[in-house]
Symmetry: C2
């Protein structure tokens, strides 16, 4: 948590990863985020992973530090209340993050009638407004057919990481700041559309893959081999798996030296008339000749010896671990750092929660705050943002239009 | 391309995906980006995918629209020239994006002596400054041990998509705008560190996975099954693969209706005493009972019939395709839209290149510009940013300290 964006107030009406993580990124740099949820919780309120008694670790991870107001969004009066909050006045306000459909009561055109300088950042699935999730976009784009090896036959291999969701969330936060900067210069608000499918398609284009397939056809599966340079998993004498990469000349020469393979490599270079140090691509095209050498050399070393040789020669490598082992054993992934705050969460569990993913030298890190209980800030938001009286807030509760904090 | 960030000038001294994509995102919203490369190109200049004659589609994808100056960074005079450009005066300038080491001639402390309000955004590998790439961070964090199925035995399955690189790039662009906003309020510059390893670790934390493994241990591999709800790949009667997901109640009821499985599902619900519509989690815990029903129902349908039934019932699904087929066959991934501009690229190939991944309602999209040839803007940048005379620029060329555009 930082205070760089103090004074910004963002209203979120959203579910799942992309839009909620957009608001989370803003919050962790100092923005105030008010999350509007339907009474009883949105479609992400019980999303896995969950605790033994069904409390969502996912929800409380993505909503850390937000203020929660629970409104009956199925009724016109409840929807009107949500619109009031989204379009409330205030210099740093008028910032809205959602994954609701373009049309409907949260359409930008409807909202801007209430606040003309409103900025709406709308995360979408497909760019035409039809529904999609990370996993359906990824399958349609071709990534699962590039993943895995012949062991999978012709079956696709899904990615477990919802990369497009995460990327869409952080790009949406970037887009919101750009629109807010523009608003401070011109006074103009606008709607910003961030479709998962455009984020995915543009990303593969940025990496050259559209040019690749349009000029040369689809890339065959490579298993765990790094495309276009040297890299793969190997197994050590004591049965540990390591990922070893050599993209740069320095990484390559360090690797060859660490394993004492200089003479063998020179022999292969001579027989093929190539220089592996000068051309990363031939490390890939001749990988069938190279890999057996490295397999044998690494299989002859215990991990501890390999680590010493690798680190002495600036090899780019890592040990494969499970996530649990990574947290316990890899000091890079220690949660005992200022990136994390150990917190008691709404689930009843105490565990370390991460703050902003960047470190800002010009500002001190603040502790992370836990996610709210659903509706925990209903009364506070109504009083503060809409200046409603206690009597009026009581009426809204009596009418079932809003709900206070869930009881445990 | 948009003009929202017109007037911002970013200097980039970086390689690979994360830092160059950060500057690309800024450029595609209107910033001027000057990329400083060593004469002959940086370590990413020949990165795959490449054309038949070895021109990098990757490099020209990640550097679209940037101005390129080639400097001999191995000599003190060349390094001084780079520092001059990075710290040059100008209201919208003083923004620096790099993946160079924290120490050395591009350290923030050295640079800020020349321009105290400089903002440096530094992408790192490991958070301690040691080298890492997307693939080594991902292996260390445990993702490859969650990916794939028993067909892979106990072998890890690497992701082919460098998700952490992409995410780090867009988060770095977000962080830069936050720091620039802060600078306009306070006059203060700062260094912002964005380590791949922190981005990866915080992301899995935000999604609840740190809580998950600390309270319950590692997640076993799920093959292509969506964790915690209903989702998997299925094969149609005509041998097409589809990804089908039901996270929400509406997606689930639409899917059951589309396949006419209501009676069978009710039977399973009765025998287990669960409601699949109400609890997404039991769709996962009882997937061994559910999947065979869906396999049979989908295997009985040709894709065209399935598509009609799915779309009529708002099912969340997609067809698995290869990237090349996706570009040809899926209208969502058409490059004949304003997201793309067909361009003649430095590689000599003409193909469509993507612009900004979001659509801004308040600004018109501008066409995408091709990547520069290496050193294409050397003289222009020296004259414009450093106000050097033609004579002085000639001296720099004669001394081999800078290079003009490469000859084809």
């Amino acid at each position: 948590m930082y205070t760089l964006l103090n004074g910004m107030r963002v209203v979120e009406c959203a579910s799942f990863i992309a839009a909620p993580s957009c608001a989370l990124h803003l919050l962790q740099l100092g923005a105030d985020v008010i999350r509007i949820d339907p009474v009883g919780g949105g479609p992400d309120f019980r999303r896995w992973p969950v605790s033994g008694d069904g409390r969502s670790f996912y929800w409380e991870g993505l909503n850390k530090g937000k203020r929660s107001i629970a409104i009956d969004l199925s009724r016109p009066e409840g929807r009107a209340l949500a619109v009031d909050i989204i379009t409330a006045q205030g210099d740093g306000a008028g910032l809205f993050v959602t994954n609701f459909p373009k049309r409907g009561f949260l359409s930008h055109n409807a909202l801007r009638e209430r606040r003309p300088d409103l900025i709406t950042v709308r995360v979408m699935g497909w760019n035409d407004g039809s529904q999609a999730l990370d996993y359906t976009v990824n399958a349609a784009l071709g990534v699962p057919y590039m993943t895995g090896s012949d062991a999978n036959g012709d079956a696709p291999v899904n990615h477990v990481l919802p990369a497009w969701d995460l990327l869409t969330g952080s790009y949406a936060a970037f887009a919101l700041l750009a629109a807010e900067r523009f608003r401070r210069q011109t006074g103009q608000g606008q709607e910003v559309l961030v479709p998962l499918s455009d984020v995915a398609l543009a990303s593969v284009g940025h990496m050259g893959q559209i040019a690749e397939v349009l000029t040369g056809g689809d890339r065959p599966r490579q298993g765990n081999d790094l495309f276009g340079a040297f890299g793969r998993d190997f197994t050590t004498a004591d049965g540990r798996r390591v990922m070893v990469v050599a993209v740069t000349a320095r990484q390559w020469s360090g690797l060859v030296k660490a394993l004492g393979l200089g003479a063998e490599i020179a022999g292969i270079e001579a027989s093929y008339g190539v220089s592996f140090a000068q051309d990363e691509g031939v490390r890939f095209t001749h990988r069938d000749a190279l890999f057996p050498l490295f397999e044998r050399a690494i299989a002859a070393c215990a991990l501890a010896d390999l680590q010493e040789a690798f680190d002495a020669n600036a090899v780019c490598w890592s040990q494969y671990r499970t996530l649990h082992a990574a947290l316990r054993e890899d000091p890079h992934f220690s949660t005992d750092r200022d990136l994390f705050t150990a917190l008691d969460h709404p689930s009843g569990y105490r565990y370390p929660a991460p703050g902003a993913m960047a470190s800002f030298g010009g500002a001190a890190r603040q502790p992370v705050e836990r996610a709210p209980r659903l509706g925990e800030h209903t009364d506070e938001v109504l009083a503060e943002v809409l200046a409603l009286s206690s009597a009026r807030i009581g009426e809204l509760h009596d009418a079932g239009l809003v709900a206070g904090p869930e009881k445990r």
